[in-house]
Amino acid sequence: MVLLVGIVFQVVHAEDKPSIMVRLDREARVWQLQAKSVSLPAILGELQRVSGMAIHYSVLPPASVTATCAAEKLPALLKCLLGESSGLVFGQADAAEPKEVWILGSTAAGQASDCPAVAAAVPQTPSTRQDNAELYAGVQSADPRRRAEALYALAANDDKEAEAMLRDAMSDASALVRGQAIGGWVRRHGAEAAEGELQQAMSDVDAAVRMQAIELTDSPDLLSQGLHDSDAMVRQLAKAKLDELVH
């Protein structure tokens, strides 16, 4: 019993020691990161060493960090570590993972998080020509549901034609299509970069489009706008999301 307690005591003390683990689970194709009471530069240094992705930054919060993160792609892993509102700019992608990233921040702004957030350009996996042809055909369909679903799927493509189709669809006659167009735009660019489009969607005549805008945004301004919407469901969703932000 004394030996057992001794071992537990020693390992408990070991638990107090700072530690970092970054690895890629090749079977599940998932990045894993565990850190206990270490500085962010140390964590980022280990992430850079293991992943080969160059990480650039000037200003980071000084406090030590404890985190457990898992993600299929490096951008999502960084978002887990640094927070969804962190400003990240990714460089050229190599085999669907970025080669480098800039973490935005400035001492002139007081805190790193005060800098305007920039959409994280998550690299997209290109679709096959056949997939694209089917999606483009779907976007032209007379059936609004088929148009809507094709648009959302098309948002994952990295070609400029998909970009233009999404933009055009935001003024489609069908509210279903307009809603999916804004959803696809956010899927492609991120909610922060799509704030203008989300703001526009908040003026849509159809409550379902406004509800989708509320679902997609984390902007306190847009959510506050939703509190005064004419539709009860939009108001309910806006309140629920604002409550979540506060807590």
């Binding site: 071992i7 390992v11 638990e15 894993q32 206990k36 457990t68 959803g183 989708q212 309910q236 999301k241």
Partner: protein, 150 residues
Amino acid sequence: MNLKHLLKTALALAVAGFVLPVSAHTLSNKTLRVGFGAQATDVWQVTCSNDAVLGNSHNLAAQILDKSPGTNLLSLIIVKGTAAATTVDSKGGDTTPSPFVEVAGGNGVYTMLVNHTQSGNKVYNIEFHCENAGGDHTPTTTPTLPVQDN
């Protein structure tokens, strides 16, 4: 129980405690929209993976909370390969979610489908986590956007 086994167990327990406990993952304030009718279905994908200390994931467990009152019932189906499980929130608009269900598919990508029994707008939360065979939480990805968004 001999001393060797006792030591191994103690070490395993202590080492397991070294891993920070991972709380359940949550998708909150997501919607099904009336424009997609009764067939509206959201599709989410979650990846369960191996943990250096806790070992392989054994299953994904999940439950759904219907935040919209009414008779339109909301259900969640977990699918991996040829295995699936369904859970239904029998009363929308309260704070009681559906029961947890799980699908044992090991490491890899699980699909979660959300659907309802009638056309209408719905707001929901999903709580989910991957577990090893012993019930410890293993690495779980949280999707930022659904694969299909209805």
